[in-house]
Symmetry: C2
Subunit: 462 residues, 2 copies
């Protein structure tokens, strides 16, 4: 690990130890646990891990780090997918998971304020008796702070938006240890620069998010879910494109290719037909859901879809979506001991079939398993490379395929990452995506973190 060659930050660590007592750790196991996320990126340990319990404590921690020029890396559930939490320059990992209180639910305003360590499932569990829910659902049961920092989304962004739309306001500790609120609870505002959106997607590089105020939604009167398979992936994607263009307000419309379906069947003991399959959900009134489903069915008929498998009981729906959320784990089980390298491109919907077909063709040149799953209603899909990260040839091969995929996407007006963020893995692609605009991102970083202590070595290439 590179950390050994870095400054030792001993004075900083001593001050933190004094401040936090047994909520400060330099134990090897704890440091290793905070050295990596869920992805293939090689771990690098922080010098220490701290476990703050409130915003004021985070501010004190960051002030100490700032005084000593020590890197500070916010850490949530550790489920990021581009190496966002890897301590490439050592420093202090700030584990936010003890800040896990739901602070306020304003049911009548459809919003809630939580500490950054509250997870999406925890929030929804807390909301159980309110008739409300929080929709954004990345695969993992991530923390709201981490989801905000990653600008995460998931299966129902097509209807309810991503963290960009979900967040109303944030409490943030700045790189010099000030505590700010980015906005008020009003649904809209034109009162100056959009600080909220500056921190959404900033991946811990501009400050530490300590509280998140999010929008909630009423649980729909009627929910209906289904799967439907197609003989080929192009037909499946074309059905999606027409659905979106027709304005049917799908709550979820997810594509899994035949490779991924086979993996899920094996992992979850299911019997889905091994073919490109759409996973769907309709939300609305009883009549509205029936109408949506009927219209969608007509589109599927045009594209030669197989039979629908409907589920309406909540238990069955949960099972269906758990299988979808488990796609990554199911894929990983295809090659035990492998590491995940998930790609994450997103294109304008009209180019999606072309992009997926070309990409599947490109995969014929490799032996690395690469099931495909996507939030296709948004134009966003993932390949999941399953590789031996200690094999340089496989890493180079995945890099080659991913770079080709990203450049294909950029040529279609798309982005290198729809929801996983930049972290370490996409830094070398940002120049191609943003060009001159990257200089403005650097100006922003320098303005908000002049010392460069906030999660250094992420997002912006050197």
């Amino acid at each position: 690990m590179r950390a050994n060659a870095l400054p030792d930050h001993n004075e900083c660590l001593a001050e933190l130890a004094e401040l936090l007592g047994d909520r400060f750790s330099t134990g090897e196991a704890v440091r290793e646990q905070h050295a990596h996320d869920e992805s293939w990126h090689h771990p690098e340990s922080p010098h220490a891990v701290v476990f703050p319990e409130n915003t004021e404590e985070v501010a004190k921690i960051v002030k100490i780090c700032a005084r000593h020029g020590t890197p500070a890396i916010p850490f949530g559930t550790g489920t990021s997918l581009e190496g966002q939490v890897v301590a490439v320059e050592g420093g202090v990992s700030i584990d936010m998971m003890r800040m896990n209180r739901v602070l306020e639910v304003n049911a009548e305003d459809l919003d809630a304020t939580v500490e950054a360590g509250v997870t999406r499932k925890q929030l929804n569990e807390h909301l159980r008796d309110t008739g409300l829910f929080f929709p954004v659902d990345p695969g993992a049961d991530a923390s709201l702070g981490g989801m905000t920092a990653t600008r995460a989304s998931g299966t129902n962004a097509v209807r309810y938006g991503t963290m960009r739309e979900a967040v109303l306001s944030l409490k943030v500790v700045t790189s010099d240890g000030r505590i700010i609120k980015t906005a008020r609870r009003a649904r809209k505002s034109s009162a100056g620069y959009d600080l909220t959106r500056i921190f959404v997607g900033s991946e811990g590089t501009l400050g530490v998010i300590t509280e998140v105020t999010v929008r909630l939604f009423g649980i729909p009167e009627a929910i209906s879910a289904a799967t439907v398979s197609f003989s080929d992936i192009e037909s499946a994607v074309n059905a999606v494109i027409m659905t979106i263009q027709s304005g049917i307000p799908m709550a979820r419309i997810e594509l899994l290719d035949e490779v991924q379906i086979e993996a899920i069947n094996a992992y979850s003991g299911l019997d889905n037909p091994v073919a490109p399959t759409l996973f769907l959900e309709f939300h609305g009134t009883e009549a509205g859901v029936a109408e949506q489903a009927e219209r969608f069915g007509e589109i599927c008929d045009e594209f030669g879809a197989g039979d629908f498998r409907w589920t309406s009981r909540q238990e069955d729906r949960n099972k269906l979506w758990q299988a979808r959320h488990d796609a990554a784990w199911a894929a990983k089980a295809m090659r035990p001991g492998s590491s995940m390298w998930p790609t994450d491109v997103c294109v304008p919907i009209s180019r999606l079939a072309e992009c997926i077909v070309e990409t599947k063709k490109d995969l014929e040149t490799t032996d690395i398993p690469a099931p495909l799953a996507g939030h296709v209603g948004d134009g966003n899909f993932h390949l999941l490379f399953l590789l031996d990260r200690d094999n340089p040839d496989e890493l180079a091969e995945a890099q080659r395929l991913n770079d080709r995929l990203v450049h294909r996407t950029l040529a279609m007006g798309g982005t290198c990452t729809g929801e996983h963020g930049v972290g370490l893995g996409k830094m070398h692609l940002l120049q191609a995506e943003h060009g001159e605009a990257l200089a403005l991102m650097r100006q922003l970083k320098t303005a908000f973190d002049p010392q460069g202590i906030m999660n250094p070595g992420k997002i912006l290439p050197e």
Copy 2:
């Protein structure tokens, strides 16, 4: 006008004259035309006005201004409401209205790219045969560039969002004359900092927006509009609150108080009952609209509403909404020769009735006419003070009432401006709204416009 006491910027003007020929003007009438917006704020003329025809020309203009430290003030339709375009330090007004081409409509992706001078009505006219529309509709037929810069919204933000959600990407000339694209056309992205949202709402203080890519929506299969009046304003607002909390997907839900209704009746020759009135629109399928209208009707019954007046023919709907959009002009006609001072608070919906009732009570202490109109589904409402701006007593009185209104709003978790922006008029309120976060806004301004030439004297108080 203060401009006379400012630096003369003669070298800058000479260079601009040479660059632009007859698209550079120092004529008094042209300068006066660019000295003010639609609000009460006192005009101050720029030294010159330029009329660029493309982004490259804007970049050259800004580079010349930057070299000489001359203020540069983007100017659209001049319909801002907080003095955003007033040349308080003189300089060059950049009139964007010759950049009025619709560059690209991607019907299959539901987006369009336009030059900054294209107005919302022009875009919708252009879209006429596509089955698509652009929803954001401030009262004026504003330019898309200006609407972006103001983070504008209007009557259907409750369903379709504000410019914050509508903008996918921008082309921007930075304060040193570089040309950047803030994002790609993909519906979602986690590829670095959200530059798009930094420029949305920046009011010309961070750069010049020259192109805007916006989301479009399919024209709904069925549209139905109505008005319904209530015996008192609290009942009207409580009906709105319950409607929003019930999750009925209203396309528009607007409140006009009895003073505003009387003004509209007189101005547009209508015969609405003189009482607090909701203006409504339902979008969806035939069955969906019928269902929404029925549910909404049940809520109205609970709050003792009068009869609905329905309109379904497009012509009648247009007339209904034109009357709503003309509210400001109708109000102005109540006091010929007066200036408008529109307030613009926005509160969490649960506090809306309380906020409006207290505000109406406060108005009993003044003789200044102040009709009320609001995008109440968002918690946003306006008073329209009609005053003699040359009468210092009236200005002080309006300032007193507005400040009381804003502080009432802030205490309820609201914002001083829902959609009009800060400009000159709200600067003194930002410290109360944002506290320490205002320092971050300053850091952003300094990073993006280190010389302070972009629309100086706006948004951030000294």
